[in-house]
């Protein structure tokens, strides 16, 4: 009897959610590089365990895994989250592996630096790896202050030899090198201030530590195919993001200045979103996005976005199945290089969501990082069951 009485009673949230998905990728053209497979099929899943205490503090664990028929590097698992959120009086502290997002623009995420990109999951950099962190957040009347201590570095993932959408040379992720002797144990720091004043949203941030995007260094070994070896350097990066709500327009700006031993650069993404509501005499909305991407390294930039204009169109039918059509175009203003992506998705029944995506990389000159993708125009179908 006493035992029963002593058991703690949790009358609160204890949740297990997630999804299982199947995906097929078809490529129209033959692969360019030896070892690459033509098409690929894969299965993935994510499980999130969430438990909230009476006080509002909570524990979250999220595990993601994928098995890919073609690319060994894409068959991988990652602990996306494993953290405890302590809710204080006027502050909160998240300890463990977590994920944060900074910024306002749609086509590039310059200021968003805390989490490493999961390069095998998406080419747009929007999928992230879990990052060990101590994250203190203090919302105040004059804005929110966020402080990060980031012990432990996550290396970027890259497609393997058999995968499509990769560089001509394979990135040898098992032999990454570091500028700092602490290598992946270097402790990074970040701080962010954000505030909303009327129609303005302001964000200021600074990061000090191991840069998330590596330099890819050519390495030749006798008897073996040459590879690219990721080299991670120490950087200082200051960022600003601004957003202005102006009626049907939302104006956006993200800019960073990054410096390291002996060099620096500045990059920016500036643009707007404009909305048309209730188009075609229906409940459908169209959102348009126009952004200009700039990088003062010009053609030396590792990113293909150094002087590019981007156009996005999002059609949402606002129907029961949440049908959506997204199109994106990136046009290089120096060359004829352009990338186009079209993505349609809708829900089937209560818990299945299906997405059909097509992408093409057109007219990239040899000097453009997208040149390596010229034969990788693709069609991808995904179906995910949510539980």
């Amino acid at each position: 009897m006493a035992l029963v009485v002593c058991l703690p009673v949790y009358a609160n949230a204890l949740e297990l959610t997630g999804y299982l998905s199947a995906e097929g990728s078809l490529f129209i053209d033959e692969p360019l590089y030896t070892g690459q497979e033509q098409n690929a099929g894969s299965g993935a899943g994510q499980v999130e365990f969430y438990h909230e205490l009476e006080s509002g503090s909570s524990f979250t664990a999220t595990v993601f895994a994928r098995a890919d028929s073609a690319d060994n590097e894409r068959s991988h698992a990652d602990l996306r989250e494993f953290n405890f959120l302590y809710l204080g009086d006027g502050w909160e502290l998240r300890t463990g592996v977590g994920k944060v997002f900074w910024g306002v623009t749609e086509f590039s995420h310059l200021v968003d630096i805390v989490n490493q990109s999961d390069g095998v999951e998406s080419i747009d950099g929007e999928e992230k790896l879990g990052q060990p962190m101590l994250h203190l957040s203090v919302p105040a009347d004059i804005g929110t202050f966020d402080f990060f201590i980031l012990p432990g570095f996550r290396e970027r993932t890259f497609p393997g030899e058999k995968g499509r959408l990769r560089y001509p040379l394979v990135v040898d992720t098992s032999n990454a090198t570091y500028e700092n002797a602490d290598e992946e144990c270097h402790i990074d720091f970040a701080v962010r201030y954000s505030h909303t004043i009327g129609d303005w949203d302001i964000g200021l941030s600074h990061f000090s530590g191991t840069g998330r995007d590596p330099q890819l260094r050519y390495k030749e070994t006798i008897g073996v195919a040459p590879v690219l070896v990721p080299h991670y350097i120490q950087i200082q990066q200051s960022g600003v993001d601004l957003q202005l709500m102006a009626g049907d327009f939302i104006w956006k700006l993200e800019a960073i200045h990054r410096s390291w031993d002996g060099d620096s650069y500045t990059a920016a993404d500036i643009g707007f979103e404009y909305f048309f509501y209730g188009v075609f005499d229906s409940g459908a909305d169209i959102g348009t996005i126009v952004e200009y991407l700039y990088d003062d390294r010009g053609r030396d930039a590792e990113t293909p976005y150094n002087n590019d204009i981007t156009l996005g169109l999002r059609l949402a039918l606002n129907d029961v199945d949440s049908t959506e059509l997204l199109t994106g175009l990136v046009q290089d203003l120096d060359t004829s290089a352009r990338a186009v992506v079209v993505e349609g998705s809708r829900r089937f029944g209560d818990s299945i969501r299906s997405t059909l995506e097509a992408g093409a990389f057109l007219d990239a000159p040899e000097t453009d990082p997208l040149y390596g993708f010229r034969n990788d125009s693709y069609l991808k179908l995904e179906a995910a069951w949510y539980f």
Partner: protein, 263 residues
């Protein structure tokens, strides 16, 4: 007489005399809306669970589960947080809204997969809320200042003595309506029926309220609401449960951090 006494007790003498002796239909319409607002003042905060049932013209149903939290703000519109539990693919998606008496509301959307808070335009008043027949402006906090008013007549609805009033959106450019006609009972100033007329001035939707219950000895809330779109034959029913008042919510439960924490 009884009504007048009740109004005096709740609303104060000055206000009541203006409500009763209002001369123009516009003044009387505003007085009724003001009295209805006054009777719900002081709710502080509340939470509720919501089942949204979408029905197409063939009777096929689709359900969404939403939890809501609302905070009354002194001198401005309410703050509210809505969290989606189903459909599963949007689970954890949350809306944070700061309603303003004058000007555009502020609205943020939390996308759990990206951990991203996106500020969104609140101009889309006439847009469908999650594929339902409710527009954003139907579910937003109804602030007095967002409309002008007119009393039409005193009438009877299902045996209840009612005021029939009309309201007209101040933000004509973005509202989907030219007029909204409501039936309020004289006893408690609860809305039982509302008709929405579109920009072409034709009847678009009828909203009906059911099973009112009184909470904290003062605040009346419907157990269900059903809206029928006469033009497309679709309807949406909202069923409320677990209404709780004065749960101790405060400003810090309605900021970007709490939006990110919403589960």
């Amino acid at each position: 007489m009884k009504q007048i006494f009740a109004a005096i007790l709740i609303g104060g003498l000055f206000f009541t005399s203006s409500a009763v002796l209002a001369e123009t239909p516009e003044e009387k319409g505003l007085a009724i809306a003001t009295e209805a607002d006054l009777r719900d003042k002081g709710f502080g905060d509340n939470t509720a669970n919501l089942m949204m049932i979408l029905r197409n013209r063939h009777g096929q149903e689709s359900k969404r589960e939403i939890r809501t939290k609302t905070l009354e703000v002194e001198g401005d519109g309410d703050k509210s947080l809505s969290i989606f539990d189903t459909p599963r693919d949007v689970k954890g998606t949350a809306f944070l809204t700061f309603t303003h008496k004058v000007g555009d509301d502020d609205q943020w959307l939390y996308l759990p997969a990206l951990k991203r808070v996106k500020r969104i335009s609140s101009r889309n008043k006439s847009g469908s809320f999650m594929g339902s027949e409710f527009a954003y402006e139907d579910i937003a906090s109804q602030e007095i200042e967002k409309y002008t008013y007119k009393w039409i007549e005193d009438s009877k609805l299902d045996g209840k003595d009612v005021f029939v009033t009309e309201q007209y959106p101040v933000d004509k450019a973005n509202s989907g309506y030219t007029r909204i006609r409501s039936w309020l009972d004289k006893a408690e100033y609860r809305v039982w029926k509302t008709e929405f007329y579109d920009r072409k001035k034709t009847l678009l939707k009828t909203l009906t309220f059911f099973d009112y219950k009184q909470y904290a000895g003062k605040h009346w809330r419907p157990g269900a609401m059903e809206i029928v779109n006469h033009q497309n034959g679709k309807s949406t029913r909202l069923e409320f449960s677990e209404y709780k008042f004065k749960t101790g919510l405060a400003d810090e439960d309605f900021n970007n951090n709490s939006l990110k924490r919403a589960k």
